[in-house]
């Protein structure tokens, strides 16, 4: 079929009115979500969605590198690996073999705060997946040969992400320097010596403490009947006894009194510059303003820092940022890649000028509106998949204490005012509260550079 070229009547106002309905401030679906607390304290949240015949499952464990101690860092992440390696009921390998044969795939990730297990599977495999997930919480096997083999896998992952990766290497040093008292200073993957020296009793103790049902939140989204899913969760998880609540993390990071600096000289072509500012926890009421501040600074080609540093002054080739939204006050990161041969001081001056302006004056109304719109589209994009829905339910339940807050997220984005954003900018973007990391190319042999690099001084 061929359609003729028609003359279009430009009626943008009418079009806008026509799509006003799509400027929804509430996410729909709240009324179909079901949540339950099992007798052992485990939380289950289910969102039925019938776009595709599949289900996404997120099992949130409140254990991350935040819960570790010197000499045994990386344990939470090591469990992310060990949880796939066999139980007293299912020998090593069977978890994946059974799940994959029934159409499921899985993964997991670990952060400073949580370890999260993910499964994506066809609706008919729900019971198998819940059986497998509960089994590894109840009956993990600790087989010495398997543990040794998995140490090697984690060491390989560390080489990939840290030793052979300049970003990872610098960020690890910056994070370790930014915190004095709080365990957020530990790298989630663990220090190399710790990876090779965890003991059996460390593992068993960590498992007993943190892989307890009362420390878990299960979120499901997809082609499920919520009542049936909750009934199956009860059948498989409720027999697992609750444990004493994990010891609270009592460490409180003292106020940072001066800027700290890390300088790494290393074989490289492009220098790196990272700023890590102390920032609020995820549940802080200012959280939406912090997110929008970060977006106004680094999200997209029109963002303040990209335009100024990459386009106008060309002192950087890439600008990015990240807020570690955790249980405790964490870090807001700004990360720059500089062109070969660039002077990091020049990039620092340019960055400092921009940040000082935002700390003093906030951002323009247009920048705020852009950040709000980007956040809204970003939220809808995540809500377009069962994976995004399950993850969001879990994030809100675990970090904000209530899954239902997700459904008001667009309202909270819309409510952030220019003054809110200016206030958080003024508070966070404070030189004394930051750690600055610089990686500059060096022709020295890498090993020497690695040993000699960490320098940390007060400003």
């Amino acid at each position: 079929m061929t359609i003729p070229a028609a003359t279009l009547e430009p009626t943008p106002e009418l079009q806008r009115a026509r799509f006003a309905a799509s400027r929804r401030l509430c996410v729909s679906g709240r009324e179909v979500v079901r949540a339950a607390t099992l007798a052992n304290g485990m939380r289950v949240v289910v969102w039925p969605v019938r776009n595709i015949p599949n289900v996404a499952l997120y099992n949130w464990v409140r254990a991350g590198s935040r819960n570790e101690a010197p000499g045994a860092t990386g344990l939470a992440h090591f469990f992310e690996h060990m949880m796939f390696n066999g139980t007293s009921r299912h020998p090593p390998g069977e978890f994946d073999r059974l799940m994959e044969a029934q159409g499921g795939a899985n993964n997991a990730f670990t952060s400073d705060d949580v370890t999260v297990y993910q499964d994506w599977f066809p609706a008919g495999s729900l019971e198998l997946v819940l059986e497998l997930e509960s089994d590894r919480v109840a009956r993990l096997a600790f087989t010495p040969a398997v543990i040794e083999s998995e140490r090697g896998v984690v060491a390989s992952e560390r080489r990939l992400r840290v030793e052979d990766n300049n970003h990872g290497l610098l960020a690890e040093q910056v994070q370790a320097t930014a915190f004095l008292a709080h365990p957020y200073r530990f790298p989630t993957i663990g220090w190399p010596a710790d990876i090779s020296s965890w003991r059996m009793e460390d593992l068993q103790e960590f498992y007993r403490t943190y892989y307890a049902p009362n420390n878990l939140t299960l979120a499901l989204a997809g082609d499920v009947d919520p009542e049936q899913a909750i009934a199956l969760a009860r059948r498989y998880f409720e027999p697992i006894p609750a444990q004493a609540p994990p010891p609270p993390v009592r460490a409180v990071e003292p106020e940072q009194l001066c800027e700290r600096r890390v300088l790494i000289r290393r074989k490289a072509q492009t220098p790196l510059l990272q700023y890590a500012y102390k920032a609020p926890r995820a549940s802080d009421p200012r959280a939406p303003a912090v997110s929008l501040l970060l977006s106004a600074l680094v999200e997209g080609d029109a963002s303040r820092l990209h335009r100024s540093l990459v386009e106008d002054r060309q002192v950087a080739i890439e600008v990015s940022g990240h807020w570690q939204e955790g249980f405790d006050p964490g870090l807001l990161w700004l990360s720059l890649i500089l062109p070969e041969g660039a002077d990091p001081d020049e990039a620092r001056e340019a960055l400092d000028t921009e940040l000082a302006a935002v700390a003093a004056d906030g951002v323009t109304e247009a920048e705020l509106e852009r950040a709000r719109n980007l956040a809204t589209v970003g939220l809808w994009r995540r809500l377009a998949t069962i994976d995004g829905k399950a993850q969001l339910l879990g994030e809100y339940e675990v970090f904000h204490g209530d899954w239902s807050k997700l459904f008001d997220a667009p309202v909270r984005i819309a409510e952030v005012s220019g003054e809110d954003l200016r206030a958080v900018a003024g508070e966070i973007l404070n030189d004394r509260h930051r750690t600055v990391g610089v990686l500059v190319p060096s022709e020295e042999p890498t090993e020497t550079a690695r040993r000699a690099t960490r320098a940390s001084t007060g400003a």
Partner: protein, 444 residues
Amino acid sequence: MTVRVPEHERLSLGNGAALILVPRRDVPLVAFNAVLRGGGLADPASRPGVASLVAGLLEKGSGERNAYAFADVVEGAGGNFGAVADPEAITVRGQFLARDQQLMMELLADALLRPALDGEELEDLAARHIELIKAAKDSDPAELIGTYGRAFLFADHPYGRPVFGSEASLAATDREDVLRYYDGHFGADRLILVLAGDIDADLLARMAAESFSRWPQTSTAAPTLARPQALAGRRVLLVDFPGSAQTYFWIGNVGVEKRYPRRAALDLVNTLFGGRFTSLLNTELRIKSGLSYGARSSFARGSVPGEFSLRSFAQTENTGRALDLALHTLERLRREGVTGEMLTSARGYMLGQYPLGLETATDWAAMLAEIELYRLGRGYIDDYPAQLAAVGVAEAQAVIEEAFPPADSVAIVAIGDAARIRGPLGEYGPVSQMALTDPEFSRL
């Protein structure tokens, strides 16, 4: 419930442009996917990266807007807009709030029909792309290994060219190259436009017709490709990354094309060999030996056969052990094939997983454009479950012989510390060596 191609409308604009409309109302977003046949294979042989730079310049000023104004209006609306080149097409993608769909269409028309292709923007973009390659070499060399692998395997065939460009070719590209590409390869006969999501189909069809039905056709036929020659025997490229903790390796040879008739069997066998966690490769290199964080295999399938490749990595001193395991596993697949039981498991996996990639309006925009670009037909989706069900051991065996290379006929690329691995690599075939900092991806 199974996944089938959703209701959609396919229109022809009369000048060769195809327009596909896919309404979907789960979230208040609209998306477009505009595919322009051509891509890297239309680059001059000596200047890979031109198509990629043209793609990058589409959002750097068009119509009445300069680059800043364009970014301001896209991101101000919360939208995104970007273009990338692959070997056979430039794909422009974007997503906006449904309320902004008229704006989205105006921006797309400006970018495709009225790009400024400004000389200063080109210089800045090329300079930035060069630095981004250097940055990737510093922090994620494994990300580039496929580019080295294709250059080494395909040599002079267009699939061997780095679509993103090399540091050297990007530095040599000038505005004439960009204008020549645009004049030769942008036109209605090359365009497939898919609009998906919470769309007003009538409005967007009218806007698309208004914008694109008078767009002239290109003066040249879309470039075509010769079938690449498979490599006989083995050869090794060592990319020196002094001081690296690990060796990152890639093993490949010419595989099969997009329209390969035994696609379901291919997907099942590759799932078993290197496509999922319990695959033969990952079992050997990760699960049983603890040598590596992971090992995978895949097929790049274009209008002619692209590459089969497997990739993994291991600590520098274990380079030989890991390579041996990878090659032995490939040989074992060729020798022993797969069993009916293995196929049953892979079939369960594929049937369970493929709907997850066909969930959103953007998923369908990309899939319908691909079906149109490679003339795959809706059976590519709708018949897939039945095709998976029909694969038996004999067909799997045929696929193994046709698509998976013997372990003694492969190109091997290793990025690692040459001082420590050059010797061991000599065991696998004649070794060519280049530096990771070399501004080219090939020294053939």
